[in-house]
Symmetry: C4
Subunit: 496 residues, 4 copies
């Protein structure tokens, strides 16, 4: 029978030499684990000797605990009566009323506004943050307003359908939930709640590598024809990634693997860091440091602090390469590969040389969270149309970043995107109203997209084309320097 | 002799099973009518059992009641003494003073500001609203400021005339009142008041299909040479449209039919929806839903609500086509046809293939109320000049949207517009001061236009030309992708 | 001996039938003059029966009274003791302290700010106002910031001279005081004060046709080599203009005539009209009306009101033409002619065909006070450089409008302007500090211009050239439509 | 033994005829020195008869006193007891709490914000000020945001190094501390504190000619391989400059001379002048006057006042020329020369004709402090790439101005800059936290630069190239008029 501890006893073990934490009513000795914690030792030491469940739960999927700790690390259970009572928050600071009904929210801005009021500061900081000055985050929105629509009139628009296919699978909507991490930070329904909402529309969802629930939980109640992708951040410890791939291969609902390339190291997300610092006892290394771990040669003035975003990167391998990673991946899964985070026509072209293993690419600047002043996905799409339009025939191309309106979606489709990903929009929907909040988000975008298509005089997604958009202002901004394609083509021929 | 009811009795009939309303002192049983109300059942049910006159009156032209309800639906009269007294509004919330005299208002912005304070929230929301983010609404204004004028000097400018012709009819002003619906929402003088103001200037007016007065009422006091057009939204129930055309054919003041093409389905006007929702007991479907009526396959999270704009679209046929609708129209009227809402040079070219039935086109994005980020009319005009200038010789071209100044009007005329339409401007004028408010609006624009022409060194409208405007900044924005003209020309030849 | 009236007697004569006013202590019967007052009857009737000196004085040059009224109109003198006492303004509303010393003001914005606080609302409204939305007024400023400088380094810049010539006359500064009306509205030193300030720098001044002092007064204390121009608004009553020219011909200090062409009719200056209306008993016709005087055919909803600007236009001839006006002018003066207000390269070219009578042109949009969205002078200068650079060899070209900094001046000189005019800047300087305020304005601009030239590596005005400025952004805005030059050249040849 | 004075005695000598000041406890008679003080007599007379140490100390390096005054000028010592007590500042005006720890500051904006609160108004005004409207200062920042990055993905980015070489010397960072004057105004650690911070990173520092410490003091504790440059403002009194060069030649840490060319006369820095005026008893001549000293011919309305910036220019020679100054310099030093402040491709090309003496150029608009609307360094760099890219092979090119982010640095490196200078950034770092504040500044930029390079897929500085940036928007702004290169090439050939 498990030993029962009281809180005072646990509280003594709050040092690097002896570090205990309470999780879900059990007491764990994590002293030996400190050095191998992917998120770093400091974040654990901050909670040493206390009940860490509230901090731990929304950002770790179930099963991780058992996977990472040896059985003997569990020392026993905590005597709940001995735990300090949490003081109730003062009434004034927390309004009694809940959020407004989701059906009264008319657009995605209103949903974000409601969600912002609902979630913790920590969740807001993680979801909302982007790198540096957030130029790319805002540019992702703005670029769509600079593209004008060209409505054709006097055509029958009584019929209008949004369904399309993604990698050959039928889906109900030409937009999907992109892999955004940590859904349970915003709402307990988490990624499974998103899946439930997608089911209502036949919509696709890509599960984040850093989801707060296991893939098995997320796809558990999927409809028979519901389509999922799974996002992989390759770990330095390849065995872990291989084990995950083995689990994914068994889940029939998951149709492809998304390999994320746009964030081999974390961007500098200051909102997230600032929030983390506010609660931190001691500053921890910032920015590139977390990935490097070799800052000893520079003086100790580095500050900042690992926000949630930083912690998630721990263990991620920054050394992936076309020539190594794709063959390794082929050994561990037969699923088609979609590469995420391409931002130049050169890389899109390179991807097209890796068919049939690679079947699609997601143009993305990581929601403006990786490199600030990186181009919005629409820029890259226009670059591809200009320099190597044949890529559009060889691969399915998706875009994400900055989607706020149905017109944004339709514009991307006109330019050749097969579908459009929603990142923050889905998280804000979930945070604003759980499953119904995500449904409302999808419904608004579906309604707006249909209205847009009808007013363009178009019946279905396949009929949208570049003749429906005036991209002149955006085209005046895209790269027109020398293309790297020639040398890539030569190198490719030489390799043959 | 008609039966007399008291209010308590009427109040009991407030359900879908038995629905009575009081209108103009009479009691109607509208239970059977609920399902066929063009504006939907919900809007009636909200008022069931009460006196609905105040809500009903400003948005329905006289005669509709008799047209739509069987005689036996009228049950009798209401005993006025039994009606609940309306509580007077508290003094502080309603300033005693009326609007300032219209002659003190110097420009259209000031008129709009005064009108905004005068009208109900409902009227403001309907007039002011535009789709989505109102980008096109604001762009409609801004585009004119990006066009510079080129004044020629040292020419005699003592004479300056604004009169011109529209479809061969002499008019006093090169601008006209565009078909804007629901004038009585803003002022009881309504569309007839607009006609009275137009009479003072010899100005043309196009009567909205959704006018709050009948065409017969509006043209009743017209001057012998006063010119009107009538706007047609073709109804799904063609018999209704045919009946209207028969009435219009009898009105000599109406010289042409305007067939509206830019809003086959309603845009998403959030101000309007938000206002409607504020007073609504239950949300009703939004956006594309009203036109679709097949939302059963998606879950019930749709919100929004039919604003006034939505209700007006009920019954409108979204399936109009060049090949069907123009021949049908030819069977029911000999009046010339003007097509409204063209937004691409391709559609302008197509229209030019349908002379002599089609004699003019109105370039319009529906005041930014249909598809957001659609191009302003000036963009389309520049597109036509670039790709198919011959259309300017075959058709009269009008533009509307965003007119705030006489210089805006003159710029459009310089680029080849035959005349320029005022939408919201006329409504704000009416709301600010009734007939005199509209007159003041027309006067200001006439004065500003004349000053502009004189300072350009131009005596009359026909002498304005592209050499008087510098459109370089606007031209850097217009479409320069591949034109659809080639395939249209081939298709046209094949048809011959 | 003159009769003495008391105020009560005068006060009775306050109607159109019998209208008396007090001016400088004398009583005048102006009943017969009402209909011929250039500024209209209403403005006099507002003051009928009262002492009008305060209103009259700052906007009428001396001698006008005697010129316009018959001797018998002067009825006698007023008994000063019977005049109503002016109530002293409450202390709080008028700060006791005067303006700060001008030498503490560092730039023209600060001078304008101080001046704004010093002058009456009427003066502010007249000086500050521009037409419509003031787009051109603000664009006049902004355009200079879009032009970048190209400093050359490692050259000796110990010497730097600002002196240049204008029409062969040596001047100390490459900028001058442009003809701006009504200086005494802002400060009693008036236009003579400006002349005194100019004398200190050897700077040129152009005297406004609507100066508040006579030309004789203004040039009275001029230095022997001080240079003036005189601006002519040709009057409908040509005799008046001819009489003025005869006076001007006698003043040796005046070296040329500036014929203003950019405002044949007044623009719509709403600030000015609004101010006038605030004090007006009854609204008077606006905008083009004042010039037309034929508004009887339109209904009486015209409002607005003649601001100071409107009144000054009364009597101005809007029918001037190249072919009539220049020959007429040649009959009445041998002075060289400078044409002001050219805004297209076509008109600049036309002017160059009228040498040697015409010796210079001032590119100007009348400070944004005539036609809103007219091009800034720099646009026209760039147009000339592009389409007909030979004009720069045939005429001296000056620009005005929007000058706030020495760098603005230097940029215009680099592009070929011979000198640069200051309009509002000189008025604000005068209003902020009288003669010393104008001096301070000139000093700041001289210092800034010299600093700029030195940092460009340029010793004197003649060495500035287009290689010192990057006009790329401005050039992307200027007219590139078809030029009217070809037809002008053909017409000119045909005339020969 | 030195005589001891009491304060009352000293206070009597406060006139131009007899002027004494107290410095570091000693009493000096500076009457004879007044006329030769580089900063002018007025600034001394303001402090005559008082203890001037607080004003004197932070802007004069040690040793200057002994250098400039004869021994007999020192009259004795002051009796400290007789000095007036300084009243302690009221508690409320000076918050007790110090600045936040530097490690909590996440970016350079936050550091500037903290520094602004720490420093005196005088220091803020001197550091922050820029010329005229500060257009160039702000444009220096903005230009970098208009350049987009082009991240390449799927390449190994586990390694990333910032080290590079400058003129053959190894340095740890591709950015350096540019010569910014008066560091002790902001923090007592001064320029030596900057050197200490640079030592931690192997970073280069250029010592300002107007440093508040001597070169000897600044390099005293340098690491053996630490790299310095020294900036020279050539004095009218060449002997002084030659003496300084002789001292510099002896300091092994100093590897090159930076000859500043972008400010032969001071720009108009209004913040600085305004601050100076606030404390000044009498206004002193502004702007170009200080350099001219010949304003007697213009009336006495010049105001403004020599801010710190103005005083520093006193004695600087504005007559430097390629043909004179470089040969003179060759006579006095064998160190390589770097020319600072080039702003056109023509001058860059000219510099390349002066190898091997000239080895590098710094493209700079003097932080926007010299000529407002001068181009940012990136414009000049793009100009060079367009007109004479061969210069990049002949000289090392550095840029400064507007650096706020690591991405800014990387963009400049991509375009061919060998390294990037920090001006205000280093001063704000010092002011915010002394040596640690500078370290924090360098650390943040190092971290941001590395993150940027990794996300671009680049391992080291040499691998960055124009293919990593999209400069399309910036290129649409740069000069495209006629180049002066042809005539320069011809002149050069003729000289051979």
């Amino acid at each position: 029978m498990a030993k029962v501890f009281d809180a005072a006893e646990v509280a003594k073990h709050n040092t690097r030499e002896s570090c205990w934490v309470v999780l879900y009513g059990k007491v764990y000795d994590v002293t030996d684990f400190l050095s191998s914690h992917p998120g770093g030792a400091k974040i654990i030491l901050k909670l040493a000797g206390t009940d860490a469940t509230e901090e731990y739960d929304p950002i770790h999927p179930p099963g991780i605990l058992e996977e990472e700790l040896k059985p003997e690390a569990c020392l026993g259970t905590i005597d709940a009566k001995t735990m300090p009572k949490e003081e109730p928050a003062p009434e004034t600071s927390e309004p009694a009323q809940g959020p407004p009904p989701v059906e009264t929210l008319l657009n995605l801005d209103e949903i974000e506004e409601v969600a912002t009021k609902q979630v913790s500061q920590k969740a807001w900081a993680y979801y909302s943050s982007a790198s540096d000055d957030k130029f790319s985050k805002h540019f992702n929105n703005r670029i769509y307003q600079s593209i004008l629509l060209r409505p054709r009139v006097f055509v029958d628009c009584s019929r209008c359908e949004l369904d399309t296919t993604i990698l050959g699978h039928k889906v109900g909507l030409p937009f999907f939930i992109a892999p955004a991490a940590m859904a349970r930070l915003g709402h307990p329904a988490g990624e499974a709640g998103m899946a439930e909402a997608c089911r209502s529309f036949g919509a696709m969802q890509i599960i984040s590598n850093n989801a707060s629930m296991t893939p098995e939980q997320i796809v558990k109640d999927a409809a028979p024809d519901q389509v999922f992708g799974w996002q992989l951040y390759v770990q330095i410890d390849r065995k872990k990634s291989e084990a995950m791939l083995a689990r994914i291969n068994k889940l029939k609902a998951i149709k492809f693997i998304v390999l994320t390339l746009d964030a081999p190291v974390p961007g500098k997300r200051e909102d997230d860091e600032r929030n983390s610092m506010a609660g931190a006892a001691a500053p921890v290394p910032s920015g590139v440091k977390a990935a490097e771990r070799t800052s000893d040669d520079t003086p100790d003035v580095s500050g900042g602090s690992g926000g949630v975003g930083q912690q998630l990167f721990a263990g991620t391998d920054p050394s992936l390469r076309w020539q190594d990673t794709l063959p390794w991946l082929a050994q561990h899964t037969d699923l088609p590969i979609v590469l995420k985070g391409l931002q130049t026509h050169e890389d899109a072209y390179l991807a097209s040389l890796h068919t049939p293993q690679v079947k699609g690419i997601i143009l993305s600047n990581h929601g403006g969270r990786a490199l600030d002043t990186a181009p919005p996905a629409v820029h890259t799409l226009l670059e591809i149309r200009k320099y190597c339009p044949e890529v559009l025939d060889k691969l399915e191309i998706y875009v994400d970043g900055g989607i706020r309106r149905g017109t944004d979606i339709v514009k991307a489709l006109c330019l050749g995107a097969k579908a459009v990903g929603l990142g923050r929009a889905a998280l804000w929907g979930l945070a604003a109203g759980g499953v119904d909040g995500v449904r409302r988000t999808l419904q608004i975008l579906a309604d707006e997209s249909k209205t847009c298509m009808r007013l363009l005089g178009v019946e279905n997604v396949d009929s949208l084309g570049p003749q429906h958009v005036n991209t002149r202002m955006a085209e005046a901004q895209i790269y027109d320097g020398p293309s790297g394609l020639d040398s890539l083509r030569q190198a490719f021929k030489a390799r043959l």
